[in-house]
Subunit: 342 residues, 3 copies
């Protein structure tokens, strides 16, 4: 497989998981998710150990899940609590595989690999999702492409100029040199534009005329997330790479979870320090961002099909691609380490 | 393949086959069926021996079939009677494969294996389809699952409690012990419930209040049929496993013909000894049963997909599954005998 | 592959290719086509050399093409003219594969094989497409079948009797002997019907009652075209196989370009020497011919599926198929010569 097995992946937004079972395939594994009465999240292989019917077609009863087909009842630990025929003694060796889950940063994280290695400290640090004083919007999209094409896309924002010409693109993105650096398992791509016109989105957020400094700082985190620190500040307000809270600022959160080879669950969100009390802004932003992201989906899915249709061609990397290249190298190194260790 | 080759399979309800050619793939073989002027049924490989166009796109002429593409005309024995160019001499070595067919029990049966072994005495005994004094309704559904999943489903009716909770399910199905026994190539699963409430369907049939005895006796027959003797009788009317005509009774007939690996033609019918003159009952029953069966189709097709998505998991069998397990063992034993004999 | 690589194939009608990029897969190669400012046609691998996004999603700028994803700009020679980041020096080793194209006979021809062998003299001689004094109509259809099934279809017009019974079929097609002969890499099938009733289409064209002589002369040309000389003349007007301009005459042009194995771009046209000034006739003819061709598509796609569903059966050839058989032999001989030479 193309992904790291021993890692935390986002299975769902926390708000997506409720009492009713939710089916989602994570890294090739069909999974069913639901909440217990105490709110805790259960994640199980979405196949009844009896006849493999997806458990997500069944019904939650208390903290347990009852299969729709013959009524086998499994506890939140995946172990049988009631056999189909009530007179049959419960066989506790009957069980569904369960997965370790943690709720953090508005997400439900799932560990699909070796359970003993499931250390919550390894959850990628998506702190802006939970920062106080910041408003947050987010959404979910399935995309029929390799998850790494999304990483490439997000670690190189020059594409905004062409793909998102009507919203967040601007020519200066192509004129400003970028700085790419690796720090441990992280990759940073920094673009600092001074004295530019703010594009429509940021002009509206800043509510002030005149030239601005604009920044985009992309940060890749294992196994497959990107945080982008974005914003604008009026020229002369003193914004610097080190400190840039003088204008309006956001953190775009992007998490890519492989569904199968060639398909991805994409979770995006944005934390912002402006219009924080404006629910209307949030709703409009979510809709607008949906439109922007549909432009990306069209590109990414066409790219995936084209890769398949041109098997002798390889992806090439130029200077703008260094962030994506470094991120893929880190994924690949980690993936191989784990395969060899196993 | 997963099926027995030397066996009779239902190709169609007799009423489905008429003068116009009918295309249906049976055990991986594309077949065209039509009736001759004397009403006899012809079954041929559905591919013109000339350029392989499906013969079912062609036209019946008398007892023969003319290919739509170039007009090659084949007799009911599959042998060429007229070449595309009228001046060409008829080449009688040009022929389509034909299949032996027999009409019995309201069905057209086809023998797909070694012709010499096609003994009509081997047709499974579906006598209730043709019993005098019994009314009959039946229908056809294509299902995208392995035919053996349907056998499992029918040999274990505990699933009615959960899957058909609104119609024929009732909790007593889970509380009553079942008896499973093998007699030669047949498997019987017997469930006898005494002093229970009749579920809605049977209450309506009996037209009488008060507790009933209810029975379900499933009988598996090679290569792939299940007859279910079902009904209710008032408590105290004297119904016993040996003799139970004291109330209302039906025979559910289920025939599963493999189309290809992973897809099945499902023919179901019901013979009943009540409301026999009530055409309205028959029509309502057919509609209602269609709804019940759609619940099964949703389950069976999801199960088939789940088996594919969880390749390392195996179907497991509990006490309720013994009927299906035994039926599969008989199929598998017969299949291997034939493969080794061939 | 099933086709000849070193050959000219029709990529598109000339009128189909304009300033906006057109995507079309030719012999397994995704290709983008567009016109330069001087009207010349450019054909390139439809995958950006950078990240493989289809170039056809991009934008033409002057004579160049700019990729939608990151703005890499390629000249009409496929070579990079501008990198995504403007400050990056242009790397002229970055390039998309280009294909040699020639416009001739109303078509854009593409050479997909060894460029050094791309001799325009090898373009099949479809002179009727460009003959003065003849009116012309044509259209394009994608068909999900092997391109050779279309050649078979066109080299044996007996199928018109059955498949096109309502328009151009007539029983005499089956009664008249045909003459098949090979001349070098060409195959001719000639059918000359004397003193027959004209079918509806030709009766309308001739505008004259009484028996006619009708002819169909099919000519196969490498790599995959068929010209059919068709028409009728009043009996006694002196029409002969050698000279038959005494009545109404047309040349049906059929060009089959493999898209992939099992799918074909079909270009058909007709040059006619009657109703040449009647635009209404042309429009009606195109519509009617579309209907006739849909009858062929239904047959050809069913044939393709049937070939797949009956893997142990082979296409067989009778006298009427000699034209198609010879054409396939010539294709296969040429194909092998090229494979061995390579």
């Amino acid at each position: 497989m193309s992904w790291i097995e021993n890692a935390w992946y986002v299975a769902a937004w926390d708000k997506e998981v409720d009492r009713a079972p939710l089916a989602r395939t994570i890294c090739g594994r069909p999974v069913v998710l639901y909440r217990k009465l105490d709110g805790g999240v259960v994640a199980m292989r979405d196949a009844c150990p009896h006849r493999l019917l997806p458990l997500s077609m069944g019904m939650r009863e208390g903290d347990s899940l009852r299969c729709l087909y013959h009524g086998l009842k499994l506890g939140p630990d995946g172990v049988a609590e009631e056999m189909p025929l009530k007179s049959d003694p419960v066989n506790r060796s009957v069980c569904a595989e369960t997965f370790t889950v943690v709720e953090k940063y508005r997400f439900v994280w799932i560990w699909i690999g070796d359970k003993a290695a499931a250390d919550p400290a390894l959850i990628p640090d998506l702190w802006p999702c939970a920062a106080t004083g910041w408003a947050f919007e987010g959404d979910y999209y399935p995309v029929r492409c390799d998850y790494r094409l999304l990483i490439d896309n997000l670690m190189d924002l020059t594409h905004e100029t062409h793909v998102h010409v009507g919203s967040i693109g601007q020519p200066e993105l192509l004129e400003t040199p970028i700085d790419t650096r690796v720090e441990g398992d992280k990759v940073f791509v920094t673009r600092w534009m001074t004295g530019v016109d703010a594009p429509p989105f940021w002009r509206g957020a800043l509510k002030k005329d005149g030239p601005v400094d604009r920044w985009q700082i992309c940060e890749f985190l294992l196994p497959s997330a990107v945080i982008i620190d974005v914003g604008v500040a009026p020229v002369g307000a003193g914004a610097s790479i080190e400190r840039h809270d003088q204008g309006v600022r956001g953190f775009v959160i992007d998490v890519m979870t492989p569904e199968n080879e060639g398909s991805t669950h994409y979770f995006w969100g944005m934390a912002r320090n402006f219009a924080t009390e404006d629910a209307g802004f949030g709703a409009r932003f979510k809709t607008q961002q949906g439109g922007v992201f549909m432009e990306d989906v069209a590109v990414l899915e066409a790219q995936q099909r084209s890769i398949a249709a041109n098997p002798h061609l390889k992806l090439r990397a130029y200077s703008i691609d260094e962030g994506g290249v470094r991120a893929r190298q880190i994924i690949e190194r980690k993936r191989r380490e784990q395969v060899h260790a196993a």
